[in-house]
Structures are given as structure tokens and as C-alpha cells.
């Protein structure tokens, strides 16, 4: 099938920063993303889990964004400005998409 080059950006970021990240993405002209829940994890700041938690203070989400290659830099800059002082991982991989007209 006919596919198109694109970039898949996966940003693992603290829950409390999610709306700031997506606001920044919107400001950078990115209009499509999907938010996935995260159960727990581990990193330099130790291990965590959402089990039984009631505060939004602990925990992360993953924001996935499929984007045209030429828009990547804008997105990364917007994302970087938000995660800069915060914990979080921004990874980018190549992918191909069906229906590029939707992006």
C-alpha cells in the first residue's frame, strides 16, 4: 500500500505537565496527538507506580505524536521548552503512515 514518510515522537512526561506540553504543541501548530496512560516506571529519581495513588503529583503519561518530517523541529523545540527543567524522555523514530492527507 501507498505509505508516506513521517516521524513518530513519543514523549514520556509527568502528568502535571501534560496540559502545558499539549498547549505548547498547539502553539507550535501541532494539532494531532494521543495520550497513553503509564502504570509506573523507574529512573534516576527512583521508582514509582500509580497503584492506589490519589495525588496527581506522582506519575507520568506518554504523549505520542505522528508528524510530517518537516514539522519535527518545531515540535521538538516546543516539547523541549516544557520538559527542559522536568523529568521526561523525548524520543523520535522514523515511521510510515497511511493517509498522509490527514496530518
Amino acid at each position: 500500500m501507498q505509505t508516506h514518510q513521517a516521524k513518530r515522537v513519543a514523549i514520556i512526561i509527568e502528568q502535571v505537565m501534560q496540559s502545558r506540553l499539549t498547549d505548547a504543541m498547539t502553539d507550535a501548530g501541532v494539532t494531532g496527538w494521543t495520550v497513553l496512560p503509564v502504570l509506573g516506571g523507574s529512573g534516576q529519581s527512583g521508582a514509582w507506580s500509580r497503584e492506589g495513588q490519589i495525588s496527581r503529583g506522582t506519575g507520568m503519561v506518554q504523549v505520542v505524536c505522528v508528524i510530517r518530517p518537516e514539522r519535527l523541529d518545531e515540535l521538538l523545540e516546543a516539547a523541549f521548552a516544557v520538559v527542559e527543567r522536568h523529568i521526561g524522555i523525548v524520543s523520535v523514530s522514523d515511521c510510515e503512515v497511511l493517509r498522509a492527507e490527514r496530518f
Binding site: E14, V16, M17, S19, R20, S45, G46, A47, S49, R50, E51, G52, Q53, I54, S55, R56, G57, T58, R85, H86, I87
Partner: protein, 325 residues
């Protein structure tokens, strides 16, 4: 002293405290017992709604005390001042960075609503009345401490920690909105409204509280297991001294305001307790470099159990003695 001991004993052997202990023990033993996040959140929503509503109904019943306004104001001031004291204490006792100390301080100015709920249970069990609007005071004390802590940091030359988004998030935090909202609903609908939903918000309340404290115990135990390394003795001591300092200030305030025995005790409890819902979230946004293990372990793993087991009986006994209640 006798009263403290007997209250403490009764308290320690109540289903509520034992459920908390079960949770801590299960987590320390690394059992896979756990309560799903959605269920824990559902229970906390239930508790907030019930406690707010009942507070509102009580205000509707007993009429508006003239001291309501003063109590709210005193709560705001206490919440704003306590972090300064905590910060100073931490610089003497702990060995924390300014950022960590400010973050911890914010937690101790703010309040723990479950500690408040547990205290109201103890008061009810002992037949001690309290002002219904204390729940509104609790809501009023959630946020000011955060602003104080950020001011402490900005004084140190570090700025741009606060923006309007964060301010809105702090003031319109879910637990504040639910507490104040259900308080108002209870106030408006009064005894008639309560009659309709009593079988939901009054009768099963204690039982839900048990399961909720089981969950708190599980989370606290997991936190202690993972975070105990970060707590030096000085900081640990702070987690048990600061509640007493806070309670003393709360006591003075309550007596000055001329509250009932229960009201004074609750003021002590609010001042003694440390937040673990609203403040941690605000700290992650405003002071992301502060180490969450420190403030979470201290607030949920040390101060919360301290208040639950020893603190509340002490505060109630002292308030009773000093108000002649």
C-alpha cells in the same frame, strides 16, 4: 495524661488505624495486595463529598457562627505562616537544600484531609461537638502554603516559579473544589437534603474510611520501602516535631477564636497535618528539582501515621483540657 492514654489506646485499636497498619505491613512485606488507582480516587471523592456535605448541613442547622469569617482568615494566615516556621526548623534540623526545604515546608503549611476526617471520627466517637464550618477552614488552608513556599524560593533569587496557569491549578484543585462545592450544597439543602442521601454519606462512611486507610497504608509502606534511604535522622525528627509545633499554633488560634473543644482540636489537627494531594502536584510543576521522595516519604510515611496514631489523641486531649470540654 490518663485521657490521652486511653484515647490513644482506643484509637490504636480502632478498625481505621488497624486497616492502615495492615496496609503498611502488607507493603513492607512486599505483598502484591493493592487497590486500583481508580478505586482509591473514587473513595477519596466519596470522602471529600461526604465530609463537605455534612459540614455544610451542620452550618445550616446551627446557623452561621460569627467566627466563621475569622476562622477562615486565621486558617489562611496559619497556612501561609507555617511554611516559614517549617523552613526555619528544617535549616536547623535537616540538611536539605533550599529547594527541598521549601518543598517540604509547603506540605506542612497545607493540610491532610484524611487526617482531618480521622480526627472528626475520633471526636464523634467521643461525643465531642465541633463547628461544621471547620471543613471550609480545611479547604482554605490547602493553598496558601504553596504560595509561601514559592515566595521563599523567589526570595533566594530564583524567580518565575509561578504563572497564572499554576495559580488556577492550585486554587481550583479538585479536592478544594469538591470540598467547598459539597459544603455549599450541604448548606443550601440542609437537613432535608441530608435525609435524602444520609444512607450513602453517613452510614457507610467509617467503613469506606477503613478501606481508604488500607490504601493509604499500602502507598505509605511502598514509599517507606523505596524512600526511607533519603530521610536522615534530622529530617525524620522534623516529621514528628513539626506536627507538634503546628498543633501548638493551631491550639493558640483556636483558643483565641473561642471555638468549641472540637473546633480547637480540629484547628490543631489541620495545622499539624501535612498535605500529600494538592501540594506534591504543585511542587512537581513549580519546583521540579526538589526531590519528591523526601517530601512524600516525610508527609505520608512519617507525619501522617504519627498524627493518626499519637497526634490526634494528644490534640483532642489537650483541646479538651484547655477548653474544659
Amino acid at each position: 495524661m490518663d485521657q490521652i492514654l486511653s484515647l490513644a489506646a482506643a484509637n490504636l485499636l480502632s478498625p481505621i488505624i488497624l486497616s492502615f497498619a495492615l496496609g503498611v505491613a502488607a507493603a513492607l512485606a512486599r505483598s502484591d495486595l493493592n487497590i486500583p488507582e481508580a478505586v482509591a480516587k473514587g473513595m477519596s471523592i466519596y470522602l471529600l463529598f461526604a465530609i463537605g456535605f455534612k459540614g455544610g448541613v451542620s452550618v445550616a442547622d446551627h446557623g452561621l457562627d460569627v467566627t466563621l469569617g475569622l476562622s477562615l482568615l486565621a486558617g489562611v494566615v496559619l497556612s501561609a505562616v507555617l511554611p516559614l516556621i517549617a523552613f526555619a526548623l528544617l535549616q536547623v534540623m535537616g540538611n536539605l537544600s533550599r529547594l527541598d526545604a521549601a518543598a517540604v515546608a509547603a506540605h506542612y503549611g497545607s493540610i491532610s484531609i484524611v487526617t482531618f476526617v480521622a480526627a472528626t471520627s475520633v471526636l464523634e466517637g467521643s461525643g465531642i461537638a465541633s463547628e461544621g464550618y471547620m471543613v471550609a477552614v480545611a479547604a482554605a488552608m490547602e493553598a496558601p502554603a504553596i504560595l509561601s513556599a514559592l515566595w521563599l524560593i523567589s526570595r533566594g533569587g530564583d524567580s518565575r516559579r509561578m504563572d497564572s496557569d499554576l495559580l488556577r491549578e492550585i486554587m481550583l484543585n479538585g479536592s478544594i473544589v469538591l470540598l467547598v462545592g459539597s459544603f455549599l450544597i450541604g448548606w443550601v439543602t440542609g437537613a432535608e437534603g441530608l435525609a435524602k442521601i444520609e444512607a450513602f454519606i453517613v452510614s457507610p462512611f467509617q467503613g469506606v474510611l477503613c478501606l481508604f486507610l488500607l490504601d493509604m497504608g499500602l502507598v505509605a509502606g511502598r514509599g517507606l520501602r523505596g524512600g526511607s534511604g533519603v530521610l536522615r535522622p534530622g529530617v525524620l525528627t522534623f516529621g514528628m516535631v513539626m506536627p507538634l509545633v503546628g498543633a501548638t499554633l493551631g491550639l493558640g488560634t483556636g483558643l483565641l477564636l473561642g471555638l468549641t473543644t472540637g473546633g480547637v482540636a480540629l484547628f490543631m489537627v489541620l495545622s499539624a497535618s501535612a498535605s500529600y494531594i494538592a501540594v506534591p502536584a504543585a511542587m512537581r510543576v513549580a519546583l521540579p528539582e526538589a526531590n519528591p521522595s523526601i517530601y512524600l516519604t516525610l508527609s505520608l510515611g512519617v507525619t501522617f501515621p504519627f498524627n493518626l496514631t499519637l497526634g490526634i489523641p494528644i490534640y483532642v486531649a489537650v483541646a479538651s483540657a484547655l477548653t474544659g470540654g
